[in-house]
């Protein structure tokens, strides 16, 4: 394995991409969208004393959305597309090893994902200028975003080595990414709603004349979904990983300042089992609600588990693609033409 050869292969990929007009059109559209998103974000967080954090978080999430939507197309045919164009074998007969080829392709796919981040940089700067972006939030969110770019790129390159036809490997990459982005949400939503437990509501209210009834409890029971059993599914969601890993900043009332914190809060609340509810007029109505900051104190972070699962999937697919691309080839994927 050699750094120079890996860079040569990555550059070869990128040069070809940079010379196609469509690529610039895509980046141009992305830029226009970012402009709109930044403007809207400022309106959304205008009531906040430090709106910049919210704007920043929305832009980072939007970049991740774009990576998830576009990256599979760019990386999902890295190997088999070259094989189809008969440009893979001429590289394989050079000193470039399978590792050089795989890592070079991965590097090119990651660099392409980073191009979206690069375009977003001025907008992120505007967000930082708006105030509220802490160094921890800045570095952690961008680092996790980078890792997510690597994960999606590795899945695409791996599947393009495992599956013979580019069309199928791109579709497969989309399905794996969709399983993480949408599948986890579906599993969470359906799973939680399918498993329900009875929850009892206790109430001391008023009688007809408007006097509090303090000597007896009224109680009724209803079913609550058990999201606390299935919240783990959400851990593997890229957006949840990004939000959960980023340190949450709270405002003076204990509410999250940005979108990362809001997503994290939602996921953390799902960890809590539904308990009995109490509405007691003799004791000031509902139990006073603690602030999100207080509620999140006894919940656990999950981003490292989710990221770990993603890295295992991406690593497995990448290793599989690697071993299928080895030469001299013993077994070929069905329908493969080697040169």
């Amino acid at each position: 394995m050699s750094g120079a050869r890996i860079l040569t292969i990555a550059r070869l990929e990128l040069t070809q991409r940079l010379r196609s007009v469509g690529w610039y059109v895509l980046l141009g559209i992305f830029m226009v969208l970012l402009l709109g998103i930044t403007a809207l974000s400022f309106l959304v967080f205008s009531s906040n004393d430090l709106p910049g954090a919210g704007v920043f978080s929305i832009i980072v999430n939007f970049v991740l959305l774009l990576v998830v939507l576009v990256s599979p197309t760019l990386s999902g045919n890295a190997i088999n597309g070259d094989r189809d164009a008969a440009t893979l074998a001429p590289i394989q007969v050079t000193a470039a090893t399978t590792g050089d080829i795989m890592l070079g392709k991965l590097l090119a796919a990651v660099a392409t994902g980073c191009a979206f981040l690069l375009i977003a940089l001025p907008f992120l700067a505007v967000g930082i200028f708006g105030g509220g972006v802490t160094p921890g939030m800045f570095f952690v969110s961008l680092l996790v975003l980078l890792l997510e770019i690597v994960v999606v790129a590795a899945m695409g390159v791996g599947l393009s080595g495992l599956i013979a036809r580019p069309l199928f490997s791109i579709a497969a990459t989309y399905l794996v990414v969709a399983a993480l982005v949408i599948g986890t949400l579906i599993a969470f939503g359906l799973g939680g709603a399918a498993v329900r437990t009875p929850v009892t509501h206790y109430e001391r209210g008023w009688d007809e004349s408007g006097e509090p009834i303090c000597d007896s409890w009224e109680e009724y029971t209803f079913e609550q979904p058990r999201y606390d059993y299935v919240w783990g599914f959400l851990a593997a969601n890229p957006f949840v990983v990004l939000a959960d890993a980023t340190p949450t900043e709270f405002d003076v009332d204990g509410y999250p300042r940005d979108m990362f914190g809001q997503i994290t809060y939602g996921v953390r609340m799902a960890q809590k089992a539904p308990g009995s509810e109490r509405w007691d007029i003799c004791d000031g109505g509902y139990d006073s609600q603690p602030s999100p900051e207080e509620q999140m104190r006894d919940t656990v972070p999950s981003w490292f588990v989710g990221l770990g699962i993603q890295l295992v999937i991406a690593g497995g697919l990448f290793a599989g693609g690697w071993s299928r691309t080895r030469t001299p080839a013993r077994r070929l994927p069905p329908g493969t033409r080697i040169a």
């Binding site: 050699s2 120079a4 040069t15 001429p90 001299p328 080697i338 040169a339």
Partner: protein
């Protein structure tokens, strides 16, 4: 052993046996032609020699190194030009060669210098800055050859190198290959254009249905084309040789004469000249390689174009 050696090489894809038993030795300093019908396994065999495909059985040695055991070492001395070389469409010819050189661990300056050298050598200097997408098929072939030569390989594997080349480029290719062979390069060429291959190869390996078969000599009985600087060549030839006219074939005004062996061919020519016929051309109607190839495929049929039914043995004696 130097050169390219294959011993009992076998490779199948599922139930299809692409190469059954390939055994041959292509020697350094010589050009070896790999000849076989479509689907005989030539490309599969070349892929195995090029270290891209592992044989199911048998051994391959490229200048003494087994490509399965040490592909990296083999690739350092091997130049491979596939029949359909994918060119990176948006890279220029020069960039393509430089990239290939860089992948062979050449320095940037070294790769650039070598690229200019090769562009001139294969006759692509005028198109150095053209993207590969706009190159013609022949120009792409030249680019493929240049890429195969970038690291000065000691073994060259060429799959249909002349396809798409114009006559001048073919002559240049032949000179270039002879030059490389003279410098000690082992060259293995697979091609369908046998008449052309015959002009350049020293040795021939016949691959039929996945097996290397004995390089049969061209059958003794061959058809000669006789062209006269006079009208009605067949009749004149028949009369000069004292043969019945129906035994001499006709092709585009020339006489086709079937002779039993080389001695008979010499005797017939002498007879024609002695008879005062203005002989302009007297040559086998078919290249020796083509004749032996067809003899290999259809051992029962006589080789050659439409010819008289019986071999006029007496023709030589006349």
């Amino acid at each position: 052993m130097s050169g390219v050696v294959a011993q009992g090489v076998k490779r199948s894809f599922g139930s299809v046996d692409a190469v059954v038993d390939a055994t041959f030795h292509a020697m350094p300093g010589r050009i070896t032609g790999l000849v076989g019908p479509n689907g005989a396994g030539k490309t599969t065999l070349l892929l195995m020699l090029a270290s891209l495909l592992a044989p199911d059985a048998g051994r391959i040695s490229i200048d003494g190194v087994d490509p399965v055991e040490d592909p990296a070492a083999v690739r350092r001395m091997l130049g491979w030009m596939p029949d359909a070389l994918g060119a990176w469409p948006s890279l220029t010819a020069r960039e393509s060669i430089v990239t290939t050189g860089r992948l062979h661990d050449m320095s940037m300056t070294g790769a650039r210098a070598r690229a200019d050298e090769l562009l001139a050598l294969v006759g692509l200097a005028d198109h150095a800055a053209s993207p590969a997408r706009v190159l013609s098929r022949g120009q792409k072939q030249k680019l493929g050859l240049a890429r195969a030569l970038v690291h000065r390989p000691s073994v060259l594997l060429l799959d249909e190198p002349a396809s798409g080349l114009d006559p001048e480029a073919r002559v240049q290719l032949r000179i270039l290959l002879r030059d490389l062979a003279a410098q000690g390069t082992t060259i293995l060429i697979s091609s369908h254009v046998l008449s052309e291959l015959e002009e350049v190869v020293d040795d021939t390996v016949f691959l039929v249905a996945g097996s290397v078969v004995a390089g049969a000599a061209a059958p003794a009985t061959r058809t000669y084309r006789v062209r006269l600087a006079a009208p009605d060549a067949p009749a004149a030839v028949a009369d000069a040789l004292g043969m019945p006219r129906e035994l001499v074939g006709v092709d585009r005004g020339d006489a086709l004469l079937v002779v039993a062996d080389e001695a008979a061919a010499v005797a017939a020519l002498r007879a024609l000249v002695n008879a005062g016929l203005p002989v302009l051309e007297y040559a086998p109607a078919q290249s020796a390689l083509e004749a032996s190839f067809l003899a290999l495929r259809h051992p029962d049929q006589p080789a050659g174009p439409p010819a008289p039914p019986a071999a006029p043995q007496e023709g030589g004696a006349a």
